[in-house]
């Protein structure tokens, strides 16, 4: 373990987190109107001055701005992210609950998309110029060009509305009110959202894998493998694939992290109660603490993804030590 690496990684992550918090803090103070105004709108408007003073004292608004900032920063690190305007519970709690729901559709979609993208992308790149490759490539470019909200909408309309194959949204049937949540029902409701997320993310993985494979296929060691007398399939499987997958490690981890926010469109259209839906509601209600929490959670995910990539890469590529600049 390279000591400098750990330091660098920590420093970057720390800085990123701080900056995210700082941005939110500045936003808070820049808001037309006061923080408290939003919190206790009507009450504040009609509250007598001594109540206002008490509030200011309690929320530390009468302290110098720098002190407020550091308290705020410290709170962020401690996980004390305030209370949501809409839900009136700690932000972390709400996010925690909703995150689980997002992961229910996100994890299967990402795993499937990764596997499919790698497989199809590798095949496509290996057989560059073939009819299969051309068809796949065109298809993927087409799907990728469709905006995610439109894709989701179309899937909903076609499969749920016209074909009546799947529910129109939500995560359970209304009968759950009486009988409790049935995992199979949830799974049934999850199919279309997962399908949409899958379609959207597989194109990216496919494209990158294909490119990676194109570069790998032209390498000299592939010719060496052929010169040994190995058959094409073995060469693809043993030599080409492993090398082509190397750049994918960083990309996949980052995709995972990016999908958290990417799911906002899908969840909104399918009424899936996850983090994306939460973001939508928070935006509509201008729920600052909640939005900040979401931003911080996303940042944490990206940080985790970066660290994961840093750790995984040396495991698969013998040329790289932990901490090398990839």
């Amino acid at each position: 373990m390279n000591g400098i690496y750990i330091l660098k990684r920590l420093a970057t992550s720390f800085a990123a987190f701080c900056i995210a918090v700082t941005i939110m803090f500045v936003l808070l103070r820049l808001m037309p109107g006061d923080y408290i105004t939003m919190y206790l709108e009507s009450i504040y408007r009609y509250a007598p001055p001594d109540v206002v003073e008490t509030f200011n004292r309690v929320y530390g608004l009468d302290r110098p701005i720098l002190e407020q900032y550091f308290t705020y920063l410290l709170d962020a690190f401690r996980g004390n992210w305030g209370y949501s305007f809409i839900y009136k519970v700690p932000v972390l709690t709400v996010i925690g609950e909703k995150l689980v729901w997002t992961l229910i559709i996100l994890l299967p979609a990402t795993i499937l998309a990764t596997l499919a993208g790698i497989g199809i992308g590798a095949y496509s790149g290996w057989r560059r110029g073939s009819k299969a490759d051309a068809a796949l490539l065109n298809g993927m470019i087409f799907i990728r060009a469709i905006p995610s909200y439109w894709l989701a909408l179309m899937i909903l309309i076609i499969f749920a509305y016209y074909l009546n194959l799947f529910p129109l949204g939500g995560y359970v049937d209304t009968s759950a009110l009486a009988t409790g949540i049935d995992p199979l029902d949830v799974a049934y409701h999850a199919v279309l959202p997962i399908l949409t997320l899958f379609l959207f993310s597989v194109t990216g993985t496919y494209y990158l894998m294909r490119n990676s494979m194109l570069m790998t296929a032209g390498e000299d060691y592939i010719t060496t493998a052929r010169a040994k007398g190995l058959d094409e399939l073995t060469i693809l499987r043993k030599h080409a694939l492993k090398n082509a997958m190397l750049p994918m490690v960083t990309l996949i981890t980052l995709e995972c992290a990016g999908m958290i926010t990417g799911s906002i469109f899908v969840e909104t259209i399918f009424s899936w109660p996850g983090l994306g839906m939460l973001t939508y509601k928070a935006l509509a209600a201008r729920d600052l603490p909640l939005l900040q929490g979401i931003l911080l959670v996303d940042t944490l995910f990206v940080i985790a993804a970066n660290i994961a990539a840093d750790l995984i890469y040396p495991l698969v590529d013998p040329r790289v030590q932990v901490g090398d600049d990839v």
Binding site: Y221, T223, T224, R226, K228, N243, P318
Partner: protein, 317 residues
């Protein structure tokens, strides 16, 4: 030569379609490699010698245009079905590719890659194949072969990588070994080591097709020498004859350009392989060119016992 040729290339034409036209990397090449000899194939970069080596094992890109015959032990390799060709590769004919730096897969240990060839052709299982790989590394002169077999290519030096590649090519004891520029980019000492290694390999009663642009490496190793220019064989014969008293002006020019023989460069530059010069392809640069040279294309004629040259000086037919 009275023996039957091990490898006989007849009328080989290799062309690459490019947006600018067809690149004729080999234009009607005839070449023979006899058993237990080392044939040195010399020529400038772009003369087509690497293409020739790759063509023998059918390692060129699928859209390459190949015509002619490549007979190995009587069978035409160019008409073999792919499955049979795979049995030839590595097992009967081995090749050491150029660029040792990129010719080994970086994510597998060297031992694994050598063992792979052994497992494929000789059916040895894991530990036995590994054992053989270690032996091979020892044979090619890599110190501490047991440990080095478990190392990765990037941990090998340039010279050691070259040796490892040679080990891979020799793994299944092929009868013909093609070596493409094995000393390229190596310092003088390392180069010497590789040349010595090849002289040892020679003793193992196999044939070697030694492709290089470095004449000095060939002087010690080759029994016969062939000279390639602009996709054609312009001179071929015994090493002593060709290098001692070359018949073709190009060969003469090559020797004269060596540092210890005067370092006289050949004027002009290599011709285009898309539209080669009419007549003799060397005529634009030849100091002894005459009118016929520029209009007629010379054939390969005998200028001595077993010694042939493609030059209008000798082709008065």
């Amino acid at each position: 030569m009275t023996d039957e040729a091990l490898l006989e290339v007849r009328g080989l034409k290799v062309g690459f379609p490019t947006p600018d036209g067809l690149v004729r990397a080999s234009d009607t090449v005839d070449l023979r490699v006899y058993p237990q000899e080392t044939l040195g194939l010399i020529g400038e970069t772009g003369s087509g010698k690497t293409v020739l080596g790759m063509a023998i094992l059918r390692l060129l890109q699928p859209n390459t245009i190949i015509e002619g015959e490549i007979r190995y032990r009587g069978r035409d390799l160019l008409t073999l079905p792919e499955d049979d060709m795979r049995k030839v590769r590595g097992r009967e004919i081995g090749i050491v590719l150029q660029n040792s730096g990129t010719s080994l897969n970086p994510v597998y240990t060297v031992g694994t890659q050598i063992a792979e060839a052994v497992t494929l052709h000789q059916g040895l299982n894991g530990p036995d194949a590994w054992q053989r790989a270690v032996e091979l590394l020892d044979t090619v002169g890599i110190p501490d072969p047991v440990r080095m077999a478990g190392e990765y290519p990037h941990q090998f030096s340039g010279g050691m990588r070259e040796r490892a590649l040679i080990a891979t090519a020799l793994a299944c004891r092929p009868t013909l070994l093609i070596a493409d520029e094995p000393t390229k980019g190596l310092d003088a000492v390392t180069k010497r080591g590789i040349i010595d290694l090849f002289s040892e390999i020679d003793r193992d009663h196999r044939s070697v097709l030694f492709i290089t642009h470095d004449i000095e490496t060939v002087e010690d190793l080759a029994t016969r020498v062939a000279v390639m220019y602009a996709g054609e064989i312009v001179e071929v014969g015994g090493a002593k004859e060709v290098l001692g008293d070359p018949a073709h002006p190009y060969t003469r020019g090559l020797l004269a350009s060596l540092p210890e023989r005067g370092m006289q460069p050949i004027p002009g530059s290599a011709p285009s392989l898309i539209t080669p010069p009419p007549g003799c392809r060397f005529s634009p640069r030849c100091g002894r060119a005459c009118g016929d040279c520029r209009s007629e294309h010379p054939g390969l004629v005998e200028v001595g016992p077993g010694h042939y040259a493609r030059c209008m000086l000798y082709d008065r037919g």
